[in-house]
Subunit: 456 residues, 2 copies
């Protein structure tokens, strides 16, 4: 395994960040941890293999490993065009029954998506070389990110050659710290960690760390995001998929940047049990519920960092839809507001144009022409709908719509609220007790610049 | 009725057009007709009533009338928050059984949406005053456009007062020409006209004219668009709704600019029979089918002008999805590609990033988390999917993906194709015989500027 020599791993290209120097923008520095409590038995490394021709300076291969076999699960994109590493890794986890995994190998510079049979062979070859360096068999899942539809055979040969060449560099890193992070168009590394305990083993300190990357092509199911969460808690392989799916639905599947869903999205969870204690094995146990809560909250914190770093974003906006007659309806409404270009541009313009929020609410459950159900929006009754801005400074909410009637809005107050980076949009439907939360950002000129010119 | 004194009616604010002088941008002039064949018996007028405080120069009230009763139909937004004029006009058409209508009164500067009971009274009052000037009873439908959630009582009083005050100015206009058009953020008036004949009366020259406005908040079901189509052909009231719905599904419901669907969208069809000839009354008649074709093609030409003038747009892109196992699936895929921010920004950047097109295709039929069906995308089989750019100059298509395998793309050729304003993206699914077409534009910096600052 190659060893990381740079902290943090800033991986692939990020030429469009607010700072072209590659440094973390001043406003984002507060999100980058300077210390952490990292799970025992995991190591992480990054190296420059030159997946993209001409890259000789930026690490573009990361390898996260455990010193012992892990229970593992992953949630993958539902895009019909699934990248080769997605196909490979899903199949591997199935064959291994979510047990006996030991590594995650990630490359940037090539998504290895829509690359046909050859691409699948590339993904397998990467994993096989990683397995060799681990001294394990079929123990590595693979993730890739980059431009779709280009097969970089030469690069993948370098990836595998490099993994092999560098196996002598294995170094044990008890506290990998910030190197446990990856970036592409991201402007800052997204890494968090925490410690927790479980009811049955109150004296054991468990640790969990997670890293994720992704700044565009972000929408549920899932996003151009890759994520790895590792814990030293002992979790039975059988309960891993359910735990991860629950956590992802409320976190990575509840964020949007642009509504696009990529071919490569993957979030993986590894649990190596290195901290000892009683294994979490039954979904009805107290430990299970406790860990589920820890994992869901942790995943939410991690996913929010993605929105915080949305391409070109100047705002971080929480959309809360409450008092819905169905959770599914609340989710759809929150998602629709969160992805509305008109809402997102108004937020960028600091414009209290709540009409656009209402407009998005109103069309959120509408089927497209040709769809089967027409206008079945039982969750919304206009006369019961309330919309407010909730300021991030703890001051009282600003009511915009009360029971379907517009308020005379204090525009000065609205402008003050919209000056803050953080904002909550609260939609109370008044038709039930279900709710949903989404996180989104605004659309700025920078978003257009980044995405009008990403590939070239 | 007030008489129009300016040609064309440039109505409401359009401060963000490429030309701040209010003149039609040079590149758009070719879309503005200098002559036309307008239906007999229709008149149109525009006047300045000052719906927005301080507006003393721009016409903000339009009135389209017929000198005799018309068969009429309208298609309205499916947004749950429907503007007062939508509620009023839908109800009126129902009560009148689509017969006996004579006028369409349209104001800008106030959407009269989310304005409660008072807003509905405003809409009714506008219609009543218009009826008086027509000497007719319950014969006027109403449309409004502007900011949502503001009730401009004073303005609506001015609207009705002005309609009354100006009734002495009625002037017969056999050929209203360009005045039959409206603009808000539009950069050019959208008006077309043509003549046609029907099989049973081959010697009668029928005429049809249509105008529409809308440049943002455009997506099926429907868009922030208003449209009026008038013909002097004799169409029975009973068949009007079916004719219009069919035409709108393939035209106004097949365009997207930003995916937002507004509270006010309305397209109305009026037929006054002033040209004489045999009435089109049976849906199984040859005349019906002929007129259906005329109306659908005409509506498509009109709808395409909306995309041509998309806020900040530099590209006009046709998305053709063919060889689908279902029309609904083809529509959903075309719609998803058409609204993908990453596709739209790549088009703006003239980047042949077909991976984004494929990515959008792949997620187009995915249900959101919490939805019932998961990944039921029978229309797409990756190995059968083909994607091409079809140049607008008639030169051969540029194949990007062939049977799921990426082509070695000639980037120079791709760049040449993307230099043109017009482009066709062709997706062949290889799974059936159904197809769908959408029209879209790109996302530019100008779009963000316009919408980040529209209301303020």
């Amino acid at each position: 395994m190659v060893m990381l020599t740079r902290l943090p791993v800033q991986w692939g290209r990020r030429m469009y960040s607010a700072s072209t120097s590659g440094a973390v923008p001043a406003a984002k520095k507060k999100y980058v941890p300077t210390s952490g409590t990292y799970p025992r038995g995991f190591q992480v490394s990054g190296t420059v293999v030159g997946v993209k021709p001409g890259n000789t300076t930026k690490p573009d291969l990361a390898f996260i490993t455990s010193d012992r076999p892990c229970a593992a699960a992953a949630v993958f994109t539902k895009n019909k065009f699934q990248a080769a590493p997605v196909t490979f890794s899903r199949s591997l986890l199935q064959r291994k029954n979510n047990a006996g995994l030991q590594g995650v190998l990630i490359n940037s510079g090539c998504a290895n998506a829509v690359t046909g049979k050859g691409g699948l062979e590339d993904a397998e070859a990467m994993a096989t070389e990683a397995d060799k360096s681990l001294g394990a068999d079929k123990a590595t899942i693979v993730m890739s990110t980059g431009v779709i539809g280009q097969r970089r055979v030469a690069a993948h040969e370098r990836v595998t050659n490099d993994s092999r060449a560098n196996t002598h560099q294995i170094t044990h890193q008890e506290d990998p710290g910030q190197r446990f992070s990856i970036c592409t168009t991201d402007t800052f590394p997204k890494l968090i960690s925490k410690s927790f305990s479980l009811p049955s083993s109150p004296s054991v300190e468990y640790r969990i760390a997670g890293m994720t990357k992704g700044a565009g092509m972000i929408h549920p199911n899932m996003a151009t995001l890759l994520g790895v969460i590792a814990t030293d808690a002992p979790i039975a392989s059988a309960v891993m998929p359910g735990l991860l799916k629950h956590a992802v639905d409320k976190s990575f599947n509840s964020i949007t940047i642009d509504g696009d869903t990529s071919t490569n999205d993957t979030v993986a969870l590894l649990a190596n049990g290195a901290a000892g204690g009683k294994e979490v094995s039954s979904a009805s146990s107290e430990d299970y519920r406790a860990f589920q809560t820890v994992l869901s909250e942790f995943s939410t914190d991690l996913a929010k960092l993605i929105v915080r770093d949305g391409e070109g974003a100047t705002k971080f906006v929480t959309i809360n839809v409450t008092e819905s007659s169905s959770e599914q309806g609340a989710r759809k409404i929150a998602s629709t507001i969160a992805r509305s270009p008109l809402v997102k541009t108004a937020l960028y313009g600091k414009d209290a144009n709540w009409g656009r929020i209402l407009c998005a609410t109103g069309y959120s459950l509408i089927s497209e022409p040709g769809g089967s159900a027409e206008n079945e929006i039982t969750e919304i009754i206009p006369e019961k709908t309330n919309v407010s801005f909730v300021p991030s400074d703890g001051s009282p909410e600003l009511k915009l719509l009360v029971d379907g009637e517009p308020e005379m809005v204090d525009e000065t107050r609205a402008a003050q609220i919209l000056e803050h980076e953080d904002l909550e949009i609260l939609v109370r439907l008044g038709t039930g007790k279900e709710k949903a939360t989404y996180w989104t950002c605004d659309y700025s000129h920078e978003y257009i610049t980044i995405n009008g010119d990403y590939r070239t």
